[in-house]
C-alpha cells in the first residue's frame, strides 16, 4: 500500500511525547508500510516505548543536542541519512516551533518544497495527496505531491485522532549529525500556569477586543478559573499587549478543540476562527449581531460582555 517508508519528526517534553506527534504517527500508519521516527534529543530510550505503542518501529536519534536549537543539527542529520540512501519516502512534521525550523532547513538542503498547514494526508498510488484549508477554513485545497521525494509535509495540531497500535518499543538507532547549530539555548523559562494548558483544556474562555481594555481581561481569567478552564485570546488583544502570545488562539496561535469554547467580545475574524472552529460547543457573546462568530456558535448572546460575563460569574459563584 502507499509509500514504503514514512518518517515522523517526533517531539517530547520532559520524557513525554507530544500529543501532535502521536496524532501524526497514527495517521502515518495508514500511509506507508514502515513508520519510523526521527528525534533530536538525548532521551530516545525513554520515549521508545511510547513511540512504539503508536506504531514507530525505529527511532533515528541525533542524541543530545548540547543546547543547540533543533533546526540545523536535525536537518543536517536527516539530509545525511537521505544522501546515504537510508531515508524515507516522506517526512511528516507537526506545525510546531521546532518542526518548522527543521523542515525549513531540510527543505533548502534537499531542494524540496514543503507542503504546509495540512489537515489531511491521503495516499494516491505511490503519491501523497494533502488537504490544506484556506480562506479561514471555508475552502479546502487538495494537492498531489509530485516529483522526487522525500516529500516534506507539515501538519496542523489536532488534525488526526491519536490511537495506539499496540506495538512494542521502537528500536533506537543513532544518526550522524554533520552540523552542530550555532544558536544555543542558554536558559529555559517555563511560565507558571494555573489550570489546564490552553490546547488541552476541556473548556476555554477567550476574550477579544470587545472587552474594551486590558483590565477587563480579568473577567475572562475569573470565569476561566471558576470553570477550571484555560483562558485564551484573539490575536487583536495579544498584538495590543493585553495578554502574552501564549494565550493566542488562531491561525498564528494555538489550535484548540475543547468541549466548550466561550468567545467573549470576539468578532470572529477568519484568523481566529481557524483556531477554534473545531470546538464541540461554541458560546459567543458580542454586542454586534452581525459578528461572524455567530455563524459558528451553538449559543450566541447578542449583548454587552461587561454585563453578561459578570452575571455568569456571579451565578456560578452562587451555585457554590
Amino acid at each position: 500500500m502507499g509509500l514504503s517508508k514514512i518518517w515522523v519528526f517526533a517531539e517530547a517534553v520532559d520524557g513525554k511525547v507530544t500529543p501532535t506527534t502521536l496524532e501524526i504517527l497514527t495517521k502515518a500508519r495508514s500511509l506507508g508500510d514502515t513508520v519510523e521516527v526521527v528525534y533530536g534529543g538525548g532521551d530516545a530510550d525513554a520515549i521508545a516505548g511510547q513511540l512504539g505503542a503508536y506504531g514507530a518501529t525505529t527511532v533515528h536519534s541525533t542524541g543530545d543536542l548540547d543546547g543547540s536549537l533543533a533546526g540545523v543539527p536535525v536537518a543536517s542529520a536527516i539530509a545525511a541519512a537521505v544522501a546515504a540512501g537510508i531515508g524515507p519516502d516522506a517526512i511528516v512534521f507537526a506545525t510546531s516551533y521546532d518542526g518548522r525550523d527543521v523542515v525549513g532547513r531540510l527543505s533548502a538542503k534537499l531542494d524540496r518544497t514543503v507542503s504546509t498547514n495540512n489537515v489531511e494526508i491521503e495516499v494516491d498510488g505511490d503519491a501523497l495527496v494533502v488537504t490544506e484549508p484556506i480562506f479561514g477554513g471555508a475552502t479546502n485545497i487538495k494537492t498531489k505531491l509530485t516529483g522526487e521525494g522525500p516529500f516534506l509535509v507539515l501538519v496542523r495540531p489536532k488534525s488526526f485522532v491519536a490511537e495506539e497500535s499496540g506495538g512494542g518499543a521502537a528500536a533506537v538507532a543513532a544518526l550522524d549529525v554533520p552540523e552542530a547549530g550555532q544558536a544555543k539555548i542558554v536558559e529555559r523559562h517555563v511560565e507558571e500556569r494555573q489550570g489546564p494548558a490552553l490546547d488541552e483544556a476541556a473548556i476555554v474562555v477567550s476574550g477579544g477586543r470587545g472587552l474594551g481594555e486590558a483590565e477587563k481581561f480579568a473577567l475572562v481569567e475569573e470565569l476561566a478559573k471558576l470553570l477550571k478552564a484555560a483562558p485564551g485570546a484573539s490575536r487583536a488583544i495579544v498584538d495590543a499587549g493585553w495578554v502574552p502570545y501564549s494565550y493566542q488562539v488562531g491561525q498564528t496561535g494555538k489550535v484548540v478543540k475543547p468541549t466548550v469554547y466561550i468567545a467573549a467580545g470576539i468578532s470572529g475574524a477568519t484568523q481566529h476562527m481557524v483556531g477554534m472552529k473545531g470546538s464541540k460547543n461554541i458560546i459567543a457573546i458580542n454586542k454586534d449581531a452581525e459578528a461572524p462568530i455567530f455563524s459558528v456558535s451553538d449559543l450566541g448572546i447578542v449583548g454587552d460582555v461587561h454585563k453578561v460575563l459578570p452575571a455568569v460569574i456571579e451565578q456560578l459563584k452562587a451555585r457554590g
Binding site: 533548502a108 504546509t116 509530485t146 502570545y245 484568523q271 453578561v308
Partner: protein, 269 residues
C-alpha cells in the same frame, strides 16, 4: 555577506511582503488555483514588527541602514513605501512575472539572492510567517541558503557586540537563545509596537530608492521558481462543510442564565 563596522552602527535587512488587504475576501485565480494578488497590496502587518525592530536596533547601535528586501510578481511598491516612511533607508524589490505562484522555498531562493547584494548586513529580520500564505518556513530556508545561523519566534532581541540574544517563544514559555552575528531572526507579532509613519516620513519615503531587479539580474532561472518550480499539483478545490449556527438571542438580562443552562446541559459544571 560581511558584518558591518561596529563603530558605525548596524546594517539590518528586513524581508517584507506586500499582500492583498486581509480585510478583503480572498480569491483564487481559476486558471492555476493560486491566491489572486492583482488587487491593492499593502505591507503585511507581520512585517511592520520586523521593520520597527530593525529601526530600534540600528538606533541603539548608534546608526546604520535598514534595507527592505521584497519579492512580487509585479512592480507593486506601495507597501514598501509604508516601511520606508517608518524610517527604512532603501528597498530592493525583485519583480518578475515568472514569480507568480512561487513556493516558500522559491521565495527564499529569490530573497537570498537579493540579500547577498546588500553590503555589510549584520542581521536579517523576517516575520515568523506571512498573513496570507502562512507557510512559516522561509526564515529557516533563507538562513540555510545564506549559510547563516538563525533564531525563530523572537519575542525580544538584544545585540551584544557580535552576538544576538533572543527570547524565543516556546510552548511552555520562552528560551533565552544566543547566536553569533550575522544571523537570521524571525520576530513574533508584538515583539515591539510599530510606529506610525509621520507626515515627514511619508514625504521622505517618496524619494527613497526602491531598486527593482529581475530574476535575470539575480542569475535565477525562471523555471526553478514560480508555479513551474513547485513540484505540486492541485487536484481539487472544495468548499469545506459549513458549521451550522445554533440559537442566537438578544440579551434581555437573561443571557447569563442561558449560558449557565447550556453548560448545565452539557454537564460541564
Amino acid at each position: 555577506m560581511r558584518g558591518g563596522h561596529k563603530n558605525l552602527g548596524m546594517n539590518i535587512v528586513v524581508c517584507v511582503k506586500q499582500i492583498p488587504d486581509p480585510a478583503e475576501p480572498g480569491a483564487l485565480d481559476p486558471s492555476d488555483k493560486t491566491l489572486k494578488r492583482d488587487g491593492k497590496l499593502i505591507l503585511d502587518e507581520s512585517d511592520s514588527y520586523g521593520v520597527e525592530m530593525a529601526l530600534q536596533l540600528a538606533d541603539s547601535a548608534g546608526g546604520g541602514e535598514v534595507t527592505l528586501v521584497s519579492m512580487a510578481p509585479n512592480s507593486e511598491a506601495s507597501g514598501l513605501r509604508t516601511a520606508l516612511a517608518m524610517g527604512a533607508a532603501k528597498a530592493i524589490l525583485v519583480s518578475d512575472p515568472a514569480l507568480g505562484g512561487s513556493s516558500a522555498l522559491s521565495t527564499a531562493k529569490v530573497l537570498a539572492a537579493a540579500i547577498k547584494k546588500v553590503e555589510g548586513a549584520d542581521l536579517v529580520l523576517t516575520a515568523t510567517e506571512s498573513s496570507d500564505g502562512y507557510t512559516g518556513t522561509i526564515p529557516e530556508q533563507l538562513a540555510e541558503l545564506l549559510g547563516l545561523p538563525s533564531v525563530t519566534f523572537a519575542k525580544d532581541i538584544k545585540i551584544d557586540g557580535s552576538t544576538v540574544k533572543v527570547d524565543r517563544q516556546t510552548d511552555r514559555g520562552y528560551d533565552e537563545v544566543t547566536s553569533p552575528l550575522p544571523a537570521v531572526v524571525s520576530v513574533t507579532a508584538g515583539v515591539v509596537e510599530p510606529r506610525y509613519p509621520s507626515f515627514k516620513g511619508i514625504m521622505a519615503a517618496k524619494s527613497k530608492p526602491v531598486d527593482e531587479v529581475t530574476l535575470a539580474d539575480l542569475g535565477i532561472d525562471p523555471a526553478s521558481v514560480g508555479w513551474a518550480g513547485a513540484g505540486q499539483e492541485i487536484v481539487a478545490v472544495e468548499e469545506a462543510p459549513a458549521r451550522e449556527a445554533g440559537e442566537i438571542i438578544e440579551d434581555d438580562g437573561t443571557g447569563a442564565e442561558k449560558i449557565i443552562a447550556f453548560l448545565d446541559n452539557l454537564k460541564v459544571i
